[in-house]
Symmetry: C2
Subunit: 542 residues, 2 copies
């Protein structure tokens, strides 16, 4: 059962009891918990009344009745994504807009007919995969809007074992995709934080990067062929492993967030399941020394599959919060970690935790792991062994559930992220940490480096503060504006893997320039002249 007002499934939640360090940690850093906005009953939510009651009739020639849903749960569940402010809209009962209906096409032809109909009837269309956007990419902004849920366009439709190519429907959820591949001995290796509830189509539309992106590439690196439907017709993109056939049109739809059309299927480069995995953790004396170690591994190889370096604040938070259902090992680490900090000269205010994963053939993984250990130790690192990394792997998809608990307790919690060159990384980290702290007032800011490249890496920040119950949206807007202004001022990219959505659109011109925006808008007009496709995503409609 999906948690319509929060993350994931109602079967799972983040347990305060199993994480006894949480309460004291929050009290120490942002003040005592208090009662935030509670989740209202579904029935009590104010939803905009449908403006065009004839929808079922309009689409009756296109879809069968059970594939057109207009019930309250479907409408609320498709009105927003899963950002902090989306969930606060629900808690504060201020959902401004919601789709009139949610459509579930079963064929690409039905998608085409839906877009035709929507254009004719002036209905906005928001393609919907797993609904996990944290940038407002799914937030309806006008009436009437239709949510186009790709749930039924899913599954493995072709596997070329010789070429390592697999074709999937865009609506395929992460776990289904990996299960289908694993049963044939393959993996895509794409594990974003949202993995359990997000879809291939969503990954493609938002240029997603999985946690193992160093080893397996970003989602766009895996795309061999893409099929999309626009209001002006179908597009087939990609006829080879690489091409010089003019501009890469594929790269318009990747990151297009539904503004140009709907991605309906993709053929992806897959890989044999790795024979071996080796995940290991290290303590560094400082974030800076950890950065140098990761940089060296990326630039001289062998490259790890995953590298995730927490700054001192995130390392402290991790130690404080560890100890969940999978946390036996971590409790040991906490003790070891604290003793190290005391006796081996690792200072609590500086110690940084690095998780490093190698995946692949036996020999490759052994070579990688031992080389990595040499590089890390040469920079003063302490080898913490496998258990912290194992705990992280076991709990990594649990973290978003924590947010719902924190919102119950009146905590504003969100993340922001960027990427920049190695030479700019440490200064930018300091600048953004400082800006975020100042914007929050009494709050907590932590960060990790991840998704590293030869030329730079991503910085991923998480922040907490007590909610301003009078106007939690104004509070969040202020912080968001400040940190995003600083990202742009710091010469870094607006977003490395969350996407633009609606929250980042004021800064897109800063990223690609006024002329770049002109070019993209002209393409949209050519493919979607009536402007029905996810209007307001990427840029505000003129």
């Amino acid at each position: 059962m999906p948690r319509w007002w929060g993350w994931g499934s109602l079967d799972t939640s983040y347990s305060a009891e199993e994480h006894p360090g949480l309460g004291p940690f929050l009290s120490a850093h942002i003040g005592p918990p208090f009662r935030g906005y509670a989740v209202p009953a579904l029935e009590s939510l104010s939803l905009p009344a449908p403006t065009s009651g004839f929808l079922s009739q309009v689409f009756s020639g296109v879809l069968s009745k059970q594939d057109i849903r207009i019930d309250r749960l479907s409408r609320v569940g498709h009105a927003l994504g899963k950002s902090y402010t989306d969930l606060m809209r629900i808690r504060t009962n201020t959902i401004a807009h919601a789709p009139e209906a949610v459509l579930f096409p079963r064929t690409i032809e039905q998608v085409e007919l839906i877009l035709d109909t929507c254009e004719r009837e002036s209905l906005a269309v928001i393609p919907f995969g797993g609904g996990t956007s944290v940038t407002g990419a799914l937030d309806a902004e006008q009436e009437p809007t239709i949510s186009l849920d790709l749930e039924n366009l899913q599954g493995l439709s072709g596997l070329d074992e010789v070429s390592h190519l697999a074709t999937f429907g865009a609506g395929t959820l992460g776990p289904k995709l990996e299960e289908a591949l694993a049963s044939r001995g393959f993996t895509l290796g794409h594990f974003p934080q949202s993995f359990e509830y997000s879809t291939l189509g969503g990954w493609l539309a938002s240029r997603s990067a999985g946690q193992n992106s160093i080893g397996y590439g970003r989602i766009e690196d895996a795309v061999f062929h893409l099929e999309a439907v626009t209001p002006r017709g179908r597009l087939s993109m990609g006829r080879g492993p690489a091409s010089a056939s003019g501009p890469s049109l594929k790269d318009l739809f990747l990151g297009g967030e539904g503004a140009f059309g709907v991605i309906v299927s993709a053929t992806l480069r897959v890989r044999p399941l790795p024979a071996k995995k080796d995940y290991r953790a290290y303590f560094f004396h400082s974030f800076e020394e950890g950065v140098e170690a990761v940089r060296e591994l990326l630039q001289t190889g062998p490259k790890p599959s995953l590298a995730r370096l927490s700054d001192a604040c995130e390392t402290q938070a991790g130690l404080a919060l560890s100890g969940g259902p999978h946390g036996a090992g971590s409790q040991l680490v906490r003790k070891v970690g604290l003793r190290l900090v005391e006796t081996l000269g690792y200072e609590p205010g500086h110690t940084s935790l690095l998780l490093l994963g190698y995946e692949g053939g036996e020999r490759e993984v052994e070579d990688g792991g031992s080389r990595a250990m040499r590089v890390c130790k040469a920079r003063g690192a302490f080898d913490l062994g496998h258990s912290p990394a194992k705990e992280w792997l076991a709990e990594r998809f649990l973290h978003p559930y924590l947010r719902d608990l924190l919102m119950d307790w009146g905590v504003m919690v969100d993340t922001f992220e960027t990427a920049t060159s190695w030479s700019n990384l440490v200064p930018l980290h300091a600048q953004l940490t400082g800006s975020a702290r100042q914007a929050l007032g009494h709050g907590f800011v932590m960060c990790h480096l991840s998704h590293a490249y030869e030329t730079g890496a991503s910085l991923y920040f998480t922040f907490f503060a007590a909610q301003d119950l009078r106007d939690p949206f104004e509070q969040w807007d202020r912080v968001k504006k400040e940190v995003t202004d600083q990202i742009m001022k710091g010469g870094a990219t607006l977003t490395h893997h969350h996407g633009i959505g609606r929250f980042h659109r004021p800064w897109l011109e800063g990223e690609i320039g006024a002329r770049g925006l002109d070019g993209l808008q002209a393409m949209k007009r050519a493919l979607d002249p009536a402007g029905i496709m996810n209007p307001g995503v990427l840029w505000r409609p003129s």
Copy 2:
């Protein structure tokens, strides 16, 4: 001194004396040489008279006098690229169009002023780098046209040694770029066939792939940041090692071939010069077995830096033509090869030569090389050692000079290329070989696999036939149409690294669809509303 009527520099040529096998080889396969069209004197070329004599005056406020050239050599040298038909236009004295003037801006501001002026005066503008296009990307199609030569926007303008990022002007020639990097301990590793005479801007505009693209990536993989000037203003693209900030605008300029604007500089990922290189050659019993070996190396690693597998025809031709100034080793190989073919069961009609190169750290290269040897031997390969690869490395930039000699002898000689998935590769090779042979009549067709990826590889064909002196253009058109139709019918990409230019534009719709073309054309209208930028490249102007 550049060879305005052929390839490269007048200091270098392909010597028939040093390649004694050439004459007999041609006689055997396409018939005896005869006298083709001779190169006319520069003075005797019919050039369209300038239509707008006021050009020097128009640009006098923008450029100093020596940066505006209207002499005959400059005009002819910028009227065409270096394709077979371009060179035949010169030899048959049928240059239809030529630029009125060649402009050599020294600053980005001058580029902006030139585009402003051209828009105001309705002058077409063709950005010009090294002039080595083989797809008609530089061929003026109308009067008045201006050639915008980027020669003076060149050189290394910044090196971030920490981030492995180097910034160059777009007009930087391959050797200058590598020299500048080598003096600081770095390399880009981009070595297209045209390396000596092509520029960074040209590589970027045409999505070039160097011969070591397996190891160093295609040019688009190396781009961190791109600066371009359009008639509507400047564009800055790329603010991080990767981004999810909407569609990748960079990827619309890469491959844009000057249709949207002029690329003026780029920041590229560079790498430390490799500590070690190991290039080695193998004989396989068949092309198919060689393909399987390359596929295995690409899919299970360690990946080579270069893999180049000649089919049986190219292997035979290579043996026949080897023995140039660097060919002592190769003559040995020819003898060894011929003996092998006789005594070890390698059949002449099937034997395929593989060149395999590893570059990087000592251990990495040793591991790669020995693993490769195991994989190749398991597929029945015979290790030919280092000398054939050394000869190839020494002579690789000499091959285009052969064409000028062949044209003297009345030979039609050209190449075509594509890329496809591994499972489609061998059937497509057979299909394209057959189609080309049929289209040529009495001719010779050979091919190599190169630029391999996990999911597939490129096929690069070379063909020879006696020229039809009555209408060499019609003869070439017929072959080109036939093989390109077959590439598209075979589900492969229209071009893997030559680009679209003007020759491939009839098939671009087959590659990206009518809607894809609509999208690109709309973007062009937004950035270049007067349509002055390289009109006719990518698609025929409406």
